[in-house]
């Protein structure tokens, strides 16, 4: 499954990193502690978070994540958006809370 498929199925907003919409998605990780994501997220996962700091994109790049989904209508900070474009990792958005969007994502791709 590609990031663009998720955008369509979960009706997500695309804020930045459009060049990464064809990134492969194999799972998801939900956390707001960047150190936790650095330690435990895996390649090609979609990261669900409320953090809008630019460090999010550095961590996403480090872990080769497919995309980031911001919850509750949060929008990326300007420098986060710029980093997303640099790394070709899309920042997506939803008005839903982490619990709901994580559940829906799990329903679509399951756990790998």
């Amino acid at each position: 499954m590609k990031v663009s498929d998720l955008v369509e199925k979960l009706e997500l907003e695309v804020y930045s990193g459009e060049n990464g919409l064809s990134n492969l998605v194999t799972g998801g990780y939900t956390s707001d502690l960047l150190s936790d994501v650095m330690g435990h997220a895996s390649e090609n996962q979609v990261w669900i978070t409320l953090q809008t700091h630019k460090n999010v994109m550095a961590v996403a790049s480090l872990k080769d994540l497919a995309a980031v989904i911001l919850v509750k209508g949060f929008k990326p900070d300007a420098d986060m958006e710029a980093e997303s474009n640099t790394h070709n990792i899309p920042v997506l958005g939803t008005k839903q809370e982490a619990f709901e969007i994580s559940g829906k994502l799990y329903g679509i791709i399951g756990k790998f």
Binding site: D32, L33, L34, S35, M38, H53, K54, N55
Partner: protein, 244 residues
């Protein structure tokens, strides 16, 4: 150059987690007992005990850095200090504006009270002070420096409410005047090379009287004042700070 003992991270009874004994007068008395020369008053998201403790400190020959321990939007704790009551007041307005209005539940978090020098309760603060304000760590850093203040990310290596836990690593471009470390500093520096060359502080983060001064730093400066302390943090004019 003279040596001054400094503990720059002390909570008062105003912090919900601060012990009820942590009144301005008791803090100054304990600081005198602990032979501290400089203390920092850092309640969660509030500066309201600063002016009184600054005055009590002056009467007891203790230089008081007044400010707050701010919780940023990323839930990172940062120590902030301001030179005078005017700058402190402006920063208090900034905190009031950006603090979400979530009512404190004293039975869970503890009381948030402002007291006078005789420990009489003057005011109870209703919004919960430990939540994150609606400003990023960079926003807070910019505001503090705009007001000529000092900005020190707190306990950067703690598992929670720290730069390293919450933001993974040091955000590039953040202009800190120093970093507070918890535990073994040599061990920390060996694991985090990005902090080598930075000014490192160790403080007590006291919430109870018997913790005041448990960790402290030595400022090598001419006399304890705001500019001298700033110079020491940046190793200017032979001023410096050493750890115990």
């Amino acid at each position: 150059m003279n040596h001054f003992r400094a503990d720059l991270h002390i909570h008062t009874v105003l912090s919900p987690c601060g012990d009820l004994e942590m009144s301005p007068m008791n803090i100054i008395k304990t600081a005198v007992e602990q032979k501290l020369d400089i203390i920092g008053i850092t309640d969660h998201n509030s500066t309201l005990h600063g002016p009184l403790i600054r005055r009590l400190g002056k009467e007891n020959n203790i230089y008081v850095l007044t400010g707050a321990e701010v919780t940023t939007r990323e839930e990172v704790h940062c120590l902030t200090f301001f030179e005078n009551d005017k700058m402190l007041g402006i920063f208090q307005e900034y905190l009031d504006f950006h603090l979400p209005n979530i009512r404190n539940k004293p039975s869970v978090f503890g009381y948030q009270v402002v007291v006078d020098e005789n420990d009489n309760i003057m005011k109870e603060i209703k919004p919960l002070l430990i939540t994150g304000i609606n400003q990023s760590i960079e926003d807070v850093e910019n505001k503090v420096h705009e007001l000529g203040g000092i900005f020190i990310p707190a306990h950067v290596n703690k598992q929670l409410n720290s730069i390293l836990a919450n933001l993974g690593f040091l955000p590039p471009g953040l202009k800190a005047d120093g970093y507070e470390v918890t535990g073994d500093v040599a061990d920390f520096l060996s694991k985090h090379r990005e902090f080598s060359g930075a000014t490192i502080l160790k403080n007590s983060d006291a919430h109870q009287l018997n913790f005041i001064g448990k960790n402290h730093n030595i400022f090598e400066i001419e006399q304890p004042d705001f500019d001298e302390i700033k110079m020491a943090l940046h190793h200017i004019n032979n001023r410096r700070l050493t750890l115990i």
